[in-house]
């Protein structure tokens, strides 16, 4: 009886170790850990809270190039340039998407604060860009009218 229990405990410990091994993901190239609370947040202000943004300064030095009207919300090309000195990072948010945070980029070692990418837009919405420079956050928005929803 006791021996059986011991064997079972040994087996369970062995299984636990195996599960732990499987759960360890390759860390290799990535210093960053995916910010699940920010990406899973469903409201714009929740996202900015999770990104630790307290005060945003609206800035025309953030240039957002996106179509005024998008035929297909599944693919909306966005080009963002920050002319703010010492820009460290840039986040792309779509206010009316089910989860507003689209992407977050950090620039180091001579990368320009400039990104072109393609995003999904569920409906007509502002695209908001958040820029971090030093201890300050700056933002700008651009409205895009979406004719066909792209988040199916």
């Amino acid at each position: 009886m006791t021996e059986n229990k011991m064997q079972r405990r040994g087996f369970l410990q062995c299984m636990a170790a195996a599960v732990a091994l499987v759960l360890i993901k390759p860390i290799n190239a990535f210093a960053a850990i995916w910010n699940s609370s920010a990406f899973e947040a469903v409201k714009l202000d929740e996202v900015t809270n999770h990104l630790n943004v307290e005060v945003e300064i609206v800035s025309q030095d953030i240039i957002i190039m996106a179509p005024d009207q998008a035929e297909n919300g599944a693919i909306v090309q966005v080009e963002v340039t920050s002319n703010i000195a010492n820009t460290e990072s840039m986040a792309i948010l779509v206010e009316n998407n089910p989860t507003p945070l689209i992407a977050h980029f950090t620039f180091t070692n001579g990368a320009e604060p400039y990104i072109v990418t393609r995003i999904k837009m569920a409906e007509t919405s502002d695209i908001k860009i958040l820029v971090k420079a030093g201890d300050q956050y700056f933002s700008n928005t651009k409205n895009v009218i979406v004719l066909e929803n792209g988040c199916g």
């Binding site: 499987v22 993901k25 390759p26 290799n28 190239a29 990535f30 210093a31 960053a32 995916w34 910010n35 990406f39 599944a74 693919i75 909306v76 090309q77 080009e79 792309i92 779509v94 998407n97 089910p98 989860t99 945070l101 689209i102 992407a103 977050h104 980029f105 950090t106 620039f107 180091t108 070692n109 001579g110 990368a111 320009e112 400039y114 990104i115 072109v116 990418t117 393609r118 995003i119 999904k120 792209g150 988040c151 199916g152």
Partner: protein, 115 residues
């Protein structure tokens, strides 16, 4: 089973170009084949298609990190990305690595060329 999931994607899933332009900046364009499933879409049998999307992507120039990104489900299918680098010269190596929510990962290296 999980281990099989973590197997590297073939680098055929990535296309890259790094061109040094007249303004001295190197423009890197990246195209990745990836479904970028949100987890909210249903298939023909009304079953939810599980989320499958790239979460982390990083770029290095000669081994030094230049760009680190986190992505959500809102990046379009077959992601496209352009970024620009100062201080790169012809022959420098740009490397881009991504990892998705299922632990799949791929890396692609390319040398900077004159535009």
């Amino acid at each position: 089973m999980v281990v099989a999931n973590m197997a590297d994607f073939n680098t055929d899933n990535m296309k890259m170009r790094a061109q040094l332009k007249a303004d001295g900046l190197t423009e890197v364009k990246v195209l990745i084949s990836h479904p970028m499933e949100t987890g909210r879409k249903k298939d023909d049998f009304d079953q939810l298609i599980p989320a499958h999307f790239i979460q982390l992507i990083s770029a290095t120039l000669n081994g030094k990190t230049v760009l680190e990104a986190q992505w959500g489900t809102g990046i379009s299918k077959n992601p496209y990305l352009t970024f620009r680098l100062k201080d790169a010269v012809v022959g420098d190596i740009v490397s881009v690595t991504w990892q998705d929510n299922l632990g799949k990962t791929a890396t692609h290296n390319i040398a900077v060329t004159q535009a």
